[in-house]
């Protein structure tokens, strides 16, 4: 089968690609024709050996589950490389810079069974040691051969090339005590460990790393979790935690609007007095990466306190959008209904992972604006995107038609 030269030549409806995002392979091909062009166009440097400071960074593949590729990632340079992993800093850079930084992280692998954290081999213990360090750590990796190209993914952060490694060594530094404490606590459940780390102020990407390496939870149940899946797992755990906290708070005292426009992604958030209900609408506009000029794609998901969405059509961004908003509501001790719209333009020409969604939502939440009702919200969004989203919104229908008891 030939690879189409342009996204527009792909003979499938745009919605198929917007739902798949090269993860579900809904078109039946083994490689995504949209991402293929990036693999070809990127100038890759194939090396035999990597010597450099790991931020620290790790990657766990999902191919061949339950025997997965696990290992560290490091650039070909020394010094303070922590910015390469810190999503709260990366979000402020242009897209070109983000991908060139992330693609310079070379990945080293060994193939391990997902059960190996129950009785970790020495290689895995070395990786644990690396991840526990509180500062960028010097590593040396020697490859048999680089076999994997770039990791371009809608879910996880981008990574550079990788291959099975012969040799892996790293220097030892001081450990991150917050991480170390939960790692050695083999009675603490993984759920509680994630919540504890979060309330201790450990950033999301660090929690996700130790979670994916099977460093949390009861030692009999520890497991490796592919990076891609671990992100949604941590998002879901923390969302559940915050949702339980906010449900007994008072209703928010008005209608509020938040927005942020960054990296070709436009976010519009509306919170209003109600119990917890959450709707996410994701739109890939003409020219954006998954749809090209084939047409616009709009996906909608809705959940309430009782019926949860487990497998949203738009993928992990559903969860990554929800978490910062729930955190925000907890910080002001209010409960609310939540409506979030994401509108992606052609400026977002390559996917860089759902961390971008989470960080952009956080930035949006810094400025709140009072508006008078839900119609105002849809009016503002229509002015800025040209799309009248109220026809797609279940929350609009509920808020406009369902009266509440005045008690």
């Amino acid at each position: 089968m030939t690879i189409p030269r342009k996204v527009d030549d792909i003979p499938y409806p745009p919605e198929l690609c917007a739902r798949c995002k090269a993860q579900k392979m809904l078109c039946g091909r083994s490689k995504c024709p949209i991402l293929e062009k990036f693999y070809i166009s990127m100038n890759l440097k194939y090396v035999k050996e990597v010597q450099g400071s790991s931020p620290p960074s790790v990657f766990i593949g999902s191919k061949n589950y339950p025997k997965v590729n696990v290992g560290p990632a490091a650039p070909l340079k020394n010094g303070d490389t922590s910015y390469m992993e810190d999503t709260s800093k990366l979000i402020n850079l242009p897209l070109d810079d983000i991908i060139s930084i992330r693609y310079s992280l070379y990945r080293g692998f060994r193939n391990l069974n997902v059960d190996s954290p129950r009785n970790p081999p020495s290689y895995l213990l070395d990786v644990y040691d690396l991840v526990l360090s509180s500062k960028p750590t010097f590593v040396e990796m020697e490859y048999y051969k680089i076999t994997e190209t770039l990791q371009i993914d809608a879910q996880s952060q981008p990574f550079g090339p990788g291959g099975i490694i012969k040799r892996f060594e790293h220097s030892h530094g001081t450990s991150n005590q917050k991480l170390e404490k939960v790692y050695y606590d083999s009675d603490l459940k993984a759920y509680d460990a994630v919540v504890l780390l979060n309330s201790n102020g450990v950033p999301f990407h660090e929690i996700q790393k130790v979670f994916s390496l099977g460093m949390l939870g009861n030692s009999k149940n520890r497991k490796l979790v592919p990076t891609r899946w671990s992100i949604t797992a941590v998002d879901s755990i923390l969302s559940e935690y915050y949702e339980n906290r906010i449900k007994n708070y008072e209703d928010i005292d008005g209608y509020y609007f938040f927005e942020n426009h960054n990296l070709g992604n436009n976010y519009f958030i509306f919170v209003f007095p109600w119990s917890y209900i959450y709707e996410n609408i994701e739109t890939w506009g003409i020219g954006s990466v998954w749809v090209g000029n084939r047409g616009m794609s709009i996906e909608e998901e809705f959940e309430d306190g009782k019926r949860k969405v487990r497998n949203p059509k738009m993928g992990g961004s559903f969860f990554a959008t929800k978490l910062p908003i729930l955190e925000y509501l907890d910080s002001i001790q209010k409960k609310a209904g939540i409506l979030a719209i994401r509108y992606v333009t052609g400026d977002y020409y390559i996917p860089i992972g759902v961390w971008q969604v989470r960080e952009n939502i956080k930035l949006a939440l810094r400025n709140r604006k009072a508006i008078s009702n839900i119609d105002d919200f849809f009016h503002i969004v229509r002015e800025k995107t040209g799309v009248d989203f109220k026809y797609f919104s279940k929350i609009y229908k509920i808020v406009k038609t369902q009266k509440r008891l005045e008690v």
């Binding site: 209900i277 229908k397 406009k400 038609t401 369902q402 009266k403 008891l405 008690v407």
Partner: protein, 246 residues
């Protein structure tokens, strides 16, 4: 301290009614019986449940007392009881103990002040029909096949329960003529729509109900009253309307 015995079927019905709206309940006990007011988190529906002490055996309340219960936990504790089992309920200090057969469960009491309870609404509703509960249940079940909203329409001589599907060709309609009503008070024509989400959960939780009274006014909360537990208790349900034109 509160202590009583009750058959599992009745306690289960009580729990089902409460859980149709909220997982937690603050229950007020006096020496005459118990009562509780529940509102769903979105403030769309509420229930008032009053049960006379004669429903129970060996009903003992030392002082007037309010107890917070996680109803989902109570339901789990009763999972293994058959409907005729007699359940021993005792709330003392910080926990509730549930005993039946040779089994005993303990569940924690929730601080009642952490559970918000609504004021009872004063509604003035001119129309009222008392009729067979199963008839109304059939109408609501039929509506569930088509829509998430059901409409009640009361005319001089009949009450209609209607639901419309996505196209005009799809609909369900149940008619209850005045002749089938035990009581029919009509003062003005009324038509109003309600979310089936709430209504279905509520009516499906009723086990011991035979007659039901429905009070209806146009674009106004719906009020349903029914005797429960062989007439020794009473349930009142209020549901805010849906206004269909956007």
């Amino acid at each position: 301290m509160v202590e009583f015995k009750i058959d599992a079927r009745s306690l289960r019905e009580f729990a089902d009614i409460v859980v149709s709206l909220n997982q937690e309940a603050k229950i007020d006990f006096t020496n005459k019986g118990l009562s509780t007011k529940i509102i769903d988190p979105a403030h769309i529906a509420m229930v008032l449940l009053e049960i006379d002490k004669d429903t129970f055996q060996d009903f003992k309340v030392e002082d007037e007392e309010s107890i917070g219960i996680d109803i989902e936990r109570l339901r789990n504790a009763m999972k293994l009881a058959s409907s005729t089992d007699i359940i021993n309920f005792k709330a003392d200090g910080k926990r509730i103990s549930i005993k039946y057969g040779n089994l005993s469960y303990n569940i924690p009491i929730i601080d009642p002040s952490s559970i918000s309870t609504p004021k009872m609404l004063n509604l003035e509703i001119p129309n009222k029909i008392i009729t067979d509960f199963n008839l109304v249940l059939t109408g609501i079940k039929a509506a569930e096949n088509f829509a998430d909203v059901v409409t009640f329409h009361m005319k001089t001589d009949e009450l209609k329960i209607l639901a419309k599907g996505e196209s005009d060709l799809e609909n369900a309609e149940l008619s209850i003529p005045k002749s089938l009503a035990k009581e029919y008070v009509f003062s003005e024509e009324a038509k109003s729509s309600y979310s089936l989400d709430y209504l279905s959960n509520f009516v499906r939780s009723l086990e011991s109900v035979t007659d039901i009274s429905i009070m209806l006014k146009t674009d106004y909360p719906l009020k349903i009253e029914a005797p429960v537990f062989n007439g020794k208790g009473k349930v009142t349900f209020i549901l805010a309307p849906r206004i269909e034109s956007i």
